[in-house]
């Protein structure tokens, strides 16, 4: 048993599929708890590799989960809670980097490329379409002949 506890303590190991949120952490108010879960899913465990504090088993993640819940109980808004954690651990803990400064490149890369690619594609299609003869509507005779053929 002791060995297992030790193993659990050492389990910042990547991909440790062990318990994250413990029953004793859960807030009584379901609405507040849901907020806490939503916030902690977007906060990264500072010592793990790519796990949110909601998923992580590391002791520091537990501390952070408790901090998040304390701040919520103290009446902070979601943004205030996140700012509080970021002020202590830096922007590293944010899974969704703030769209400011250099991060604008990250956020605008997709829409920007879509715009550029869209203009390019549009120009290409227009160029390819230049030789296409516009569809001529069938005359009344042709329409009736077509109907005859289809119904046969």
């Amino acid at each position: 048993m002791k060995r297992m506890a030790l193993a659990l303590l050492l389990a910042f190991a990547p991909l440790s599929p062990v318990f994250a949120v413990q029953p004793d952490e859960v807030l009584a108010d379901a609405g507040l708890e849901a907020r806490a879960r939503a916030i902690s899913r977007n906060l990264r465990c500072p010592v793990c590799q790519g796990e949110s504090i909601d998923d992580s088993n590391a002791p520091i993640s537990r501390d952070l989960r408790l901090v998040v819940r304390e701040r919520i109980m103290a009446g902070d808004t979601d943004a205030q809670v996140v700012d509080f954690v970021v002020s202590r651990y830096g922007e590293f803990v944010l899974f969704s980097p703030k769209a400011e400064g250099a991060n604008l490149i990250l956020w605008l890369a997709g829409p920007g490329l879509l715009l550029v690619g869209g203009i390019g594609a549009f120009a290409y299609i227009r160029k390819r379409g230049r030789g296409v003869v516009p569809a001529e509507a069938l005359s009344a005779d042709e329409q009736s002949r077509l109907r005859d053929l289809l119904e046969k």
Partner: protein, 656 residues
């Protein structure tokens, strides 16, 4: 002895790969049939040699030959046989050997099935494929040799990472690699065509089955990985936007784009340069994926089996192949004249839109994956990019794709009318909209994700049905049903794959939107409510497995007093690696999975228990399988089989 034999075979394979690269390429340049003919036996010999090497390594694992460093580090005598075998590729060196084996397999397949190719193109394709083999065999022999011996072998090994001791993960890497490496064929065809300076409808037709096969494997591989994460990691999540997952997702997206643009090359001889570029980039992203996974440059939850020093070598491979191919592309792209003209409203335009959305989506995943690296290198900021970013930045593309899919799929080639194409789809659209609204009205205070998923799913699936039905022409219903069975398999494949896509999208939305979670302490014998079910923790026992100790809970799930399932979630401890794993117990169902996880014993008695109801979970993987099956149907279409048969008949007569 057998190990030395395997080692020697690997070195010999490198020599053969060099011959396979140089001689046919030179022969194609000099139009020398004898030199070009070297390609075929060389490709086959290379494959046989690497297969022998792989067999030797497998033998070492199966017999627990602890004089090999690799076996010591990744195996154990007590490990079940399945994992002794899967342990061969459950590590860096072995997985590279599998990579090289599959690469050589595709090269050999090009030699076997390539009889209908023009001789120079065939020689060049096999030569380019050989050059990739040279790069990876060198990488393996110089930095990651699986056959290194130990002077003093230990009595027993260190065991495989217990998370990898799982049937799902045993088969995940081979499928993924078949997909990754399969894209090398598209790359080889693209580079060979660039050297030839000719891309025509026939080229589009040759490259498509290879891309399709690679995409099918990639789809299955990704689905297996996602399923593994779902049941093994114990969070009930199925996709984590982890760099390693993204590494397989980017080539998948580009492979879809490539499949669709190659149709335009095949049917309409347009989009040639773009298709070549996509073929190069799709394999480029496979290499980037390999780089990300194998170098550990972007630390991720998949960080087993990484080594920063090897990253440089892979980066060099990436630079040589991408740099070379793109330079070639820059010189030759202008010479590829498009033939087919098409109007603004046409199938071609719809496929251009499909390609635009897929490529930009792949790019978004790419920039999100490498942004932490770039931000640290250039701006000195350490930051993270995770699920919230990808959900926000990627999802719009997926939604846009699903919205245009049914309309584009029914659009006629060359010139269409938006209203005429849209009319047969109006019932599907109304139904999708109505179902989405109904779900929206029924659920209160939840995200819009659920209704959007329902609407998109119905729209795409019904769109596929309408598409197939419209292919049967006009006339009495009975006649159309009869014609349904005689439609080309490519039509069935298209509709099936599209429907699978719709099902997958719906399931993703449903799981994200409607999951039920419960975390609590339960005493032995205690009962709690989980949605409409009552769950009882009957007992908790200590059990011994072949190479682990287990704390196994027995839990009974009832609904209105009637027994639904008895589940045994476990918490395992693998003493050799000193690592605990969680074995969730899942009652699989058509509408929902009940997902139970047992946690630590609590100070005040009882156990922490996590329970989930995962709605439509199996639809997700079923959707992926349906997609892959659609690809398979398309792959067995008559026009590929006929072409293969014709070439065999032609081959019976001595050609030279």
């Amino acid at each position: 002895m057998i190990v030395e034999f395997g080692h020697f075979a690997l070195v010999l394979a490198l020599a053969v790969a060099v011959v396979q690269t140089v001689v046919p390429m030179w022969g194609a340049y000099r139009r020398n049939a004898a030199l070009m003919a070297v390609a075929e036996p060389a490709a086959m010999i290379q494959f046989v040699l690497i297969a022998a090497s792989f067999a030797a390594l497998t033998y070492a694992f199966v017999t627990s030959d602890f004089s090999l460093v690799l076996v010591v580090q990744n195996s154990h005598t007590l490990k079940p046989m399945l994992y002794k075998i899967s342990g061969v590729w459950g590590n860096h060196e072995g997985s590279l050997l599998l990579w090289a084996l599959i690469l050589a397999l595709f090269g050999a397949c090009a030699a076997w099935f390539g009889d209908n190719l023009p001789p120079t193109l065939k020689a060049r394709v096999i030569a380019v494929q050989g050059s990739i083999g040279v790069a990876f065999l060198m990488f393996m022999l110089f930095t990651s040799n699986p056959f290194l011996r130990l002077a003093v072998p230990p009595l027993d090994g260190l065991d495989l990472n217990p998370l990898l001791q799982d049937p799902g993960l045993a088969f995940h890497p081979p499928f993924l690699y078949l997909g990754y490496v399969g894209l090398s064929m598209a790359f080889s065809f693209a580079v060979a065509a660039l050297i030839e300076g000719r891309v025509d409808a026939a080229w589009g037709r040759w490259v498509r089955p290879w891309t399709l096969a690679a995409w099918i494997f990639l789809t299955i591989g990704i689905a297996l990985g996602s399923w593994w994460a779902y049941y093994e990691l114990g969070w009930g999540g199925f996709w984590f936007w982890d760099p390693v997952e993204n590494a397989s997702f980017m080539p998948w997206l580009l492979a879809i784009a490539l499949l669709h643009s190659a149709i335009v090359v095949e049917k309409r001889e347009s989009l040639k340069a773009w298709t070549i570029l996509l073929a190069i980039m799709a394999f480029g992203f496979s290499l980037i994926g390999t780089f990300i996974v194998r170098s550990g440059v972007i630390t991720s939850v998949h960080s087993f089996a990484n080594d920063p020093e090897r990253g440089v070598f892979i980066l060099m491979i990436l630079a040589v192949f991408m740099g070379g191919a793109l330079t070639l592309f820059a010189f030759r792209a202008g010479s590829m004249e498009a033939k087919g003209l098409f109007a603004m409203v046409s199938r071609e335009s719809a496929l251009v839109a499909n390609n635009l959305l897929l490529s930009v989506a792949a790019f978004v995943v790419f920039i999100g994956t490498i942004w932490p690296l770039l931000a640290e290198l250039f701006f000195g900021r350490t930051l993270s990019v995770g699920e919230p970013f990808f959900n926000a930045a990627f999802s719009p593309f997926a939604v846009a794709l699903a919205v245009i899919l049914p309309i584009g799929a029914m659009m006629p080639w060359k010139r269409g009318e938006i209203m005429r194409g849209f009319r047969p789809l109006i019932p599907a659209m109304l139904l999708a909209f109505a179902a989405g609204s109904l779900v929206w009205a029924m659920q209160t205070g939840r995200t819009a994700l659920g209704p959007v998923g329902v609407a998109l799913g119905i729209w795409v699936v019904l769109g596929a049905v309408v598409d197939l039905w419209s292919r049967t022409g006009r006339g009495p219903v009975a006649g159309r049903f009869a014609r349904l069975g005689r439609l080309p398999r490519a039509d069935w494949g298209k509709a099936t794959a599209h429907a699978g896509m719709g099902i997958t999208m719906f399931a993703v939305c449903a799981m994200l939107a409607w999951k039920t979670e419960d975390i609590r302490i339960v005493q032995e014998g205690g009962t709690y409510a989980l949605g409409p079910y009552e769950v009882t923790l009957t007992s908790v026992d200590e059990v011994r497995g072949p190479n682990y100790f287990s704390t196994m809970a027995t839990m009974e799930v009832r609904r209105d007093g009637a027994m639904v399932a008895t589940l045994t979630p476990e918490k395992r401890m693998y003493p050799v690696q000193g690592m605990p794993t969680t074995e969730a117990a899942i009652d699989y169902g058509f509408w929902r999975d009940i997902y139970l996880v047992i946690g630590d014993p609590q100070v005040g008695g009882g156990y922490a228990v996590r329970s989930y109801i995962e709605p439509f979970a199996n639809w997700l993987w079923a959707g992926c399988l349906i997609m892959a099956f659609g690809g398979l149907l398309s792959l067995t279409d008559r026009r590929y089989r006929v072409a293969a048969g014709a070439s065999r008949r032609a081959g019976a007569v001595p050609a030279e």
